[in-house]
Symmetry: C2
Subunit: 197 residues, 2 copies
DNA sequence: CCGAAATGAAACATGAGCGTCCTAAAAAAC
DNA sequence: GTTTTTTAGGACGCTCATGTTTCATTTCGG
């Protein structure tokens, strides 16, 4: 009861609402629903016709973003090549979806809107595939053995966060931020940082 | 009208409220004020006696955290030594204050609670002293010339963010996270990453 | 121990966002 | 061009956090 069984028209408005929800709620999780609606170019009542609750909206958004994340994970093909190369491909894929994945960098880290609003629930998403790739990288000598797989994953997201906010915060362009982010990421993770072109 | 002219008793409750405010509101900026009060072990009316508005509370918190940040900046003595060493000292000082500086890593980045709640207001705090140190590091050959000063600063905060959340997200200890964070930071920024012990 | 200061607890009015519902208008499908 | 679908634009009651006020109680200072 989430996506199919919708007319083409409905699918587009639904998609617009999800996009708007990500844009608005990523910057201010407590923003009124009316703001999401107007951002989507839609009346508040219409939003409510597609998503009953605010929780229903956030759940749908999370589902949507998760799908995008899974797609990135799939295309990165983490089981291929050295561990470092896998994480490099992953970071590149994730960067191409930063506008959507901002959802994971904003409210999801703090509120984790799905279930509860409680404090200290498991923030972020420790993905086993990423942990495996990092562990493999440490084993195959491509990733710095002084780093733990958990840190590697956390660090990847940290760099993505910076790459996403740096353009707005300081005055650098998106491409500048991304290239420097990739360089910083690889140098930090590599067992042999000098080999980073 | 902010801190002095307070009895010792009042100073302690005020400090407790600020601490509680940081703890609670950093994780959920839209948390009820009653939650802040109870966290401080104080009645909601008492909180309101110290801070009229919610904006007054957040402003006082920001002032308090900013003071702590300035102190870290002072102790780091950014004008001393190479640029990379300066940033290293800065990161260490900031890490010792992560519990307080979490305020800058959470709501302040998104809501920037002081003035408006609008979107795309200047997120974060581009500090000229840090930019200068980074620029000096690039000039003196200690910092990777492929990185811009703006990115260096953004990256420092990014790593701090990760060091703060990694323990909760994955299962690593605080000391693990901090040591790996420092290593990652230095390797990424250094012009000669191999020289990082 | 006693006056002053500080707090706890509760009641209260207010406003904002939410969720529901309804009707006329617009847009799409045929 | 007509029918069906989808939307806009409200009105409405509800909940909840907020901010204010008052009064009894506790704690502090000398």
């Amino acid at each position: 009861m989430s996506e199919r069984d919708l007319s083409p028209t409905q699918q587009r408005t639904r998609a617009a609402l999800l996009r708007a929800g990500i844009e608005v709620l990523s910057n201010d999780p407590s923003a009124p629903l009316g703001e999401v609606a107007s951002r989507a170019g839609v009346a508040r009542s219409t939003l409510h016709r597609y998503f009953a609750d605010k929780t229903a909206l956030t759940a749908a958004i999370t589902e949507f973003v998760t799908a995008e994340h899974d797609d990135a994970l799939h295309r990165a093909d983490l089981t291929e090549g050295t561990g470092l190369d896998a994480l490099r491909r992953l970071a590149l894929e994730l960067m191409d979806r930063l506008d959507v994945l901002a959802w994971f960098l904003g409210p999801a880290l703090l509120v984790e809107g799905l279930h509860s609003g409680s404090i200290d629930d498991m923030t972020g998403e420790p993905d086993p595939a990423v942990l495996d790739a990092a562990a493999r990288g440490i084993a195959d000598g491509s990733i710095d053995p002084a780093l733990s797989p958990q840190w590697c994953e956390s660090f990847v997201w940290s760099v993505l966060f910076s790459a996403n906010h740096a353009p707005a915060a300081s005055g650098m362009t998106t491409t500048e931020a991304r290239s420097q982010a990739m360089r910083s990421l690889l140098k930090a993770l590599a067992a042999d940082p000098a080999a980073v072109r």
